[in-house]
């Protein structure tokens, strides 16, 4: 099927320093979520489900795993003749020295040659570290209907939290009049989700002009959008309703996982009409042992549960040995919880071995404890 003439560019270079050891070896978009997924499965599956066939993934930080992961475009059904997933890391060019991506806009500017080779009418800019389901085709329809130069997806957040976000102040017909990054006294509660649709020709001009500007930080929110606004371009806010979560901290990553335990959670990963696709790991179905007890939990393939699991999310191939207790926790793939160990309110990183009888975390703790291999120097 011919696609909708929009290329998606996923910004996946983020390091995610507030996730600490979870991102010591992999970039944030490759961090595990919901038992069997990685965060970047969400934008990639959204693209596939929105009939976007060409997706560029801009990677930078610890990108070996991420690059090889997203290159397997068949996971998301993006391996069609007309498109595919393109891994775009910073690279040396004939005319310029090698430079890492300086900002979100610079990452796109450095790949103008790639975009030109595809020559799309529209470019969709996404971030690789949010959990949500969204039909970008509908957003493109809105962009076209408004005759916009740029459309920014926004979420209505509670007014008291608005100062944590980039806020769009809009006028008639949701035309964006002003953009304020983390305003002390917000005038609106429309928070930018970091999802932009640009009409490519115009964006190209602005990117090149921005690249030449030595004062610029080469960032969409900080530079490109304000310049568009200054020039009285047509910018519109696209109101998104539904589940959206930035999983930038250990606490928020844990919360997003816990949301899956709620039977009425808006994310609804069981919805067959908008599946989230991921790697097929070739594991046996889960086995729940004769003495096991499982309650209110989210458990995936390859798990072997012999102990007690309550209000928790278990990743692929997690083993919970006899007498072990996993309560209010997220266990990432490949981890083994030893006999009689107790894990409460924790995120346990991938491929850890928790020894027999060990205890981690506390009931009612203020923050979620991260159990991971400690890095040298920390």
């Amino acid at each position: 099927m011919r696609s909708n003439n929009m290329v998606a560019m996923i910004l996946a270079g983020g390091r995610g320093t507030r996730l600490f050891e979870l991102t010591s070896k992999v970039a944030k978009p490759a961090v595990n979520f919901g038992g069997k997924y990685r965060i970047i499965d969400f934008p990639l599956s959204n693209c596939a489900n929105s009939d976007i066939s060409t997706v560029g993934v801009l990677t930078q930080y610890e990108s070996v795993l991420l690059n090889s992961y997203v290159a397997k475009d068949q996971y998301w059904g993006l391996d069609i003749n007309d498109g595919g997933v393109y891994v775009l890391s910073p690279r040396e060019k004939a005319t310029e020295d090698f430079e890492v991506y300086q900002g979100t806009a610079d990452a796109i500017t450095q790949n103008i040659d790639f975009l030109d080779s595809i020559d799309p009418e529209y470019v969709l800019i996404l971030s690789g570290d949010h959990i949500y389901k969204m039909n970008y085709a509908k957003m493109l329809g809105y962009h076209k209907m408004k005759g916009a130069d740029a459309t920014i997806a926004v979420l209505e957040v509670p007014m008291k939290e608005a100062s944590r976000f980039g806020i769009m102040n809009t006028g008639e017909g949701d035309r964006i009049l002003e953009f304020e990054e983390k305003p002390k006294e917000p005038k609106s509660n429309l928070a930018s989700m970091g999802i932009y649709i640009f009409t490519y020709k115009k964006l190209r001009q602005y990117l090149l002009a921005d690249a030449a500007n030595t004062e610029s930080r080469h960032d969409f929110g900080h530079d490109i959008i304000p310049t568009y606004l200054n020039d009285k371009m047509n910018l519109y806010a696209y109101r998104f309703k539904g589940y959206w979560k930035d999983v930038g901290t250990v606490d928020s990553l844990w919360e997003a996982n816990m949301d899956l335990l709620n039977a009425n959670n808006e994310l609804d990963l069981a919805d067959a009409s908008w599946k989230i696709y991921t790697e097929d790991v070739n594991a046996l179905p889960q086995y729940i042992g004769p003495d096991a007890s499982v309650k209110n939990s989210y458990i995936t393939e390859g798990c072997v549960v012999e102990g007690n699991v309550q209000n928790s999310v278990l990743g692929t191939n997690v083993k919970v040995a006899k007498g072990a207790k996993v309560i209010d926790s997220v266990i990432m793939p490949g981890t083994v919880i030893g006999e009689n160990a107790t894990i409460t309110r924790c995120i346990v990183a991938e491929n850890m071995v928790i020894p027999k009888g060990a205890k981690y975390g506390k009931k009612n703790s203020e923050h979620i404890e991260l159990v991971a291999e400690k890095q040298e120097g920390k």
């Binding site: 046996l284 889960q286 003495d291 499982v294 209110n296 458990i299």
Partner: protein
């Protein structure tokens, strides 16, 4: 490995009641997320067999969908080939729909393949085996045909209708007979054979001339004196899924990880088709014990000693004990099921209790509503 893989279809000695009415044995669901054919096909591709023909007696749609182009089994999409072949003609009577008739009808594809050897095996015997070891042995002994067999002491109740082989001291097959369950220790043929392709073609032609009711194993039995047929013993786990009760019994045994580890080995993976189901969600009152549960299930009741396929729903207060529930089936509120096999998409809602007291489970039909 320079052999063409042929996955043969089952004769009338293998039929899984109920489940078998909707799909051939190879396409029957196995251990929650697999199909029976995944095991033999993965053995072949893991052994480096890159060209595989799957013969299908009837109802090929299901198999074609499941197998795809073979990529999910690691068959190289350019160098390798996976074909699903069937008679492509009407047989005036089902008894004429033999493996020989199908080989004959598709002979051009067998001849065109460039591999000098063929490895034939049906899918209803499940085991984990590196066929390159069989090839080594075949070349060592210089046999005409190498035949796989297993040694069992359960031949009274299992492997019924299968071929029993007798071997001499050099492991040469001296006779074939049917297992009628009158002896507990038997050597059972796995109906898997390795031989030169030219010999295979000769045997198919000979069979065609002898009788139009002949199966490949019949012509092999006829040739036991002229050919050097050597046994190769498959050690370790071997199960034969040739009836509903044997299917049920073997699946129940395979539930436990210590048993399934004999068939599903980390360095010898069994591949299958993914369907991107999300993980399984246990509700507050949903519990499970001694059970194998595929992804996408929603469990609000009690699951005990059972196998659940993908996207199965177990309602509040429902109890599912020693059951096999296939994909997308729904077990309603407060229903009690014991020793039941529930086929795909069935909805069991309007009864209180369904229990089988026999070794053979009760079977609930595909799409059925009860």
């Amino acid at each position: 490995m320079n052999a063409l893989g042929i996955i043969n279809f089952e004769g009338d000695t293998a039929f899984i009641d109920g489940l078998g009415e909707y799909r051939p044995v190879p396409a029957v669901s196995f251990l929650g997320r697999y199909r029976i054919i995944d095991v033999i096909l993965s053995n072949m591709t893991n052994s480096g067999i890159n060209n595989v023909q799957v013969y299908c007696k009837e109802k090929p749609r299901n198999l074609i969908e499941h197998l795809g182009n073979g990529q999910r089994y690691n068959i190289n999409s350019k160098r390798g080939k996976l074909q699903v072949l069937y008679g492509e003609k009407m047989f005036s009577s089902l008894v004429y729909n033999t493996d020989i008739a199908n080989f004959e009808l598709n002979m051009q594809y067998i001849q065109r393949d460039s591999n000098p050897y063929v490895l034939i095996a049906p899918s209803y015997f499940v085991y984990s085996l590196d066929f390159t070891d069989v090839m080594k042995k075949h070349l060592d002994t210089g046999a005409d045909v190498t035949l796989l067999y297993t040694s069992t002491n359960e031949a009274r109740t299992s492997f019924l209708g299968c071929d029993v082989v007798k071997l001499d001291s050099e492991k040469r097959v001296t006779s074939f007979e049917k297992n009628r369950g009158n002896n507990k220790n038997r050597l059972i043929s796995l109906e898997a054979y390795l031989m030169k392709k030219s010999l295979f073609i000769d045997l198919v032609e000979k069979a065609t001339k002898t009788s139009s009711l002949y199966w490949f194993k019949d012509i092999l039995a006829d040739s036991v004196e002229q050919l050097d047929i050597r046994g190769f013993q498959v050690r370790g786990y071997v199960a034969c899924l040739n009836s509903l009760s044997e299917y049920y019994r073997n699946c129940m045994e395979l539930k436990h990880p210590s048993v399934s580890a004999l068939l599903f080995k980390p360095d010898w993976p069994i591949y299958t088709q993914t369907n991107d189901s999300c993980p399984t969600r246990f509700h507050d009152n949903g519990t499970a014990k001694d059970s194998v549960i595929a992804n996408g299930c929603v469990i609000e009741g009690t699951v005990d000693g059972s196998i659940l396929g993908r996207n199965v729903r177990i309602g509040e207060g429902a109890v599912v004990k020693n059951c096999i529930i296939l994909e997308d089936a729904v077990i309603g509120k407060d229903v009690y099921l014991e020793n039941v096999v529930v086929d795909k998409y069935a909805q069991v809602k309007n009864i209180d209790r369904l229990t089988s007291y026999e070794p053979t489970p009760i079977y609930v039909k595909r799409l059925d509503r009860i």
